[in-house]
């Protein structure tokens, strides 16, 4: 079998008394594109945030690339990782947010250069060169000097993807990357994501774009109420959902 990138065993997460994740078992292989769909409040975004430790899990095991996320196991005991070690883990994982979260006081190219130069200690010249390559890859060579406020939503999201790629991550997480976009701008972002998938990037994508899931996804996961209701190849799940809850959801969004 293929190597595993993400392994989640019985992951639980609660915010106070609210249980958001109630036992998630999931495996994402290297090079796999997994799409997670489900109604809002189903815990799909929270699960994604747990993968890079933006949210801490309360139970179960979650590992990326063979390493536990946020913890270290020694002599059968779990130790919390220091901020520095968590930061080191996150370098392996790129994340793209629904609201882009570009740094508004930096130009497009500065946004992309920032982390490689500050975190990995790349020289300004190298960082800039790589940033320009990445911006070209997402089709924004002509916007390198623009501030985020001077870019459309679709352009901002493409800069955000370039920014995440600049750290050379082994895994990319997408948290509803097209939900905040005008309908006519969704295509350009999905196009970039398709290109990434074609290049063999491992991706976990929380999305409402069923067309993208069908076309690009290797696996489709349907979540509801903090559990995985159904999982399978996107074509099968979308064409022939087994679970009544999946059927109900798909009948509303398709």
């Amino acid at each position: 079998m293929t190597e595993l990138m993400v392994k989640s065993e019985n992951v639980h997460k609660n915010f106070g008394r609210l249980e958001v994740l109630r036992g998630i078992d999931l495996e994402v292989g290297v090079g796999e594109v997994m799409c997670i769909v489900g109604p809002s409040g189903s815990g799909k975004s929270t699960f994604l945030r747990c993968i890079n430790h933006l949210d801490k899990i309360n139970g179960g095991r979650l590992s990326v690339n063979g390493h536990l996320v946020g913890y270290e196991e020694r002599n059968g005991k779990l130790y919390e990782l220091r901020d520095k070690e968590v930061a080191a883990q996150r370098r392996e994982i790129g994340m793209v947010f629904q609201k882009f979260n570009l740094f508004p006081h930096m130009t497009a190219v500065q946004n992309v250069m920032e982390a490689p130069c500050r975190v990995k200690g790349k020289s300004k010249a190298d960082g800039r060169k790589r940033a320009l390559e990445l911006l070209e890859r997402v089709g924004l060579s002509d916007k390198i000097g623009n501030y985020p406020s001077q870019l459309s939503g679709g352009q901002q999201q493409r800069v955000a993807i370039a920014r995440a790629l600049a750290m050379d991550p082994a895994l990319m997480l997408f948290d509803e990357p097209t939900s905040a976009l005008d309908p006519e701008l969704v295509g350009e972002v999905l196009e970039v994501m398709k290109g990434l998938a074609a290049d063999g990037m491992t991706m976990v994508v929380v999305t409402h774009e069923m067309g993208f899931a069908r076309e690009v996804g290797d696996t489709l996961v349907f979540m509801d109420g903090g559990v995985i209701v159904e999982k399978g190849s996107p074509r099968e799940v979308l064409a022939n959902p087994q679970h009544p809850r999946t059927r109900e959801f798909l009948s509303k969004v398709l």
């Binding site: 890079n52 933006l54 901020d83 520095k84 930061a87 080191a88 996150r90 370098r91 994982i93 790129g94 994340m95 947010f97 609201k99 979260n101 570009l102 740094f103 508004p104 006081h105 930096m106 130009t107 920032e114 982390a115 500050r118 975190v119 623009n146 501030y147 985020p148 406020s149 001077q150 955000a160 920014r163 995440a164 750290m167």
Partner: protein, 317 residues
């Protein structure tokens, strides 16, 4: 479908620009009239009233000791603000820390220095020589421990005489800076909290460390909120430097002008001269504030937006 492809009707003539009679505002003209009369009366008073004694002011407002006072006032303003802002940032970061000890220490600091008036602080700091004749930096409680164990330990690293260290100027500077830090801490805290939490999330997802996130991502954006009230604080500080005459520091601007006026039995003209000096210095600071605000509005300024709109217009043609 073919409707859309049809070539448009022969071009229509552009209508003439509308020339309409504008609405009259008689109220405005009346206000202008009243104000003009009041301004004229005021100027007339300034010129004719002998109490202002402008020639005496001109002769005495630029005396060497007054210029020296201006220098002290500016030094105190800049010094107290630099120390106050630096310490204020530290206290704000402490206040927002997860560590309950750090955040409560920061709260107590802010509570104390906001509660005590600056005038009282200035007098108090001038008298701190009463507590210790000598201020010592070294290991704590060494004398007590040495007594207890019956051995001789000297924990002193260096010490300064209170009267050398806490000269009037230093005491005044400390009083103003420490008090300023408390206000700046609140301003900085508001600024940091105004930055969307998605910003630090995105930065930490990139693997940036907490100090990096603060310095590179959060603070530059918080500055947009922090700079305008800091400008206010600086202007207030310029005026509050006159309080150090209570320390007492005597070579400060207001004290010097007042002393000159008292000496010549002409206190009123010198008060007016003080007003003019503070007006001039404050205007000077406002220019600086304008440029600072413009710098930190990078990426969000309306001018930036206009510029981008202009650029896109140009590219269309």
């Amino acid at each position: 479908m073919a409707d859309f492809d049809k070539s448009p009707e022969p071009e229509r003539v552009r209508p003439e620009i509308i020339k309409a009679v504008p609405v009259r505002h008689p109220g405005r003209w009346m206000t202008v009239g009243v104000l003009a009369v009041l301004v004229a009366m005021f100027v007339h008073m300034l010129v004719t009233n002998k109490a202002f004694d402008w020639s005496y002011q001109l002769d005495n407002a630029f005396r060497p000791n007054v210029i020296e006072g201006v220098r002290t006032t500016l030094t105190l303003t800049i010094g107290a603000m630099v120390l106050g802002v630096a310490l204020g940032i530290v206290i704000a970061v402490m206040r927002l820390s997860d560590n309950p000890i750090l955040s409560s220490v920061a709260w107590v600091y802010t509570w104390f220095f906001r509660a005590v008036p600056r005038l009282v602080l200035c007098v108090l700091f001038g008298q701190l020589g009463i507590l210790y004749a000598e201020y010592t930096v070294g290991l704590p409680f060494t004398a007590q421990i040495a007594d207890l164990l019956g051995v001789d330990i000297n924990g002193t690293i260096f010490s300064v005489d209170a009267n050398t260290f806490l000269t009037g100027l230093m005491a005044g500077l400390l009083a103003l800076a420490l008090s300023e830090a408390a206000y700046m801490a609140e301003i900085v805290r508001a600024g940091i909290q105004s930055v969307d939490s998605g910003q630090s999330e995105a930065a930490s997802a990139l693997g940036m460390s907490r100090p990096q996130i603060m310095r590179r991502v959060v603070l530059p954006q918080a500055m947009r909120v922090i700079v305008p009230p800091t400008g206010n604080e600086t202007i207030a500080m310029l005026k509050d430097t006159s309080l150090v005459s209570a320390v007492p520091v005597t070579n400060e601007l207001f004290f010097q002008l007042q002393a000159a006026g008292a000496h010549d039995f002409k206190p009123f003209p010198m008060l007016i001269a003080a007003c003019c000096w503070y007006l001039f210095l404050t205007s000077f600071l406002m220019v600086g504030q304008y440029y600072l605000e413009r710098h930190f509005a990078k990426g969000v300024s309306p001018t930036g937006k206009t510029r981008s709109r202009l650029m896109s217009l140009r590219s269309e043609h």
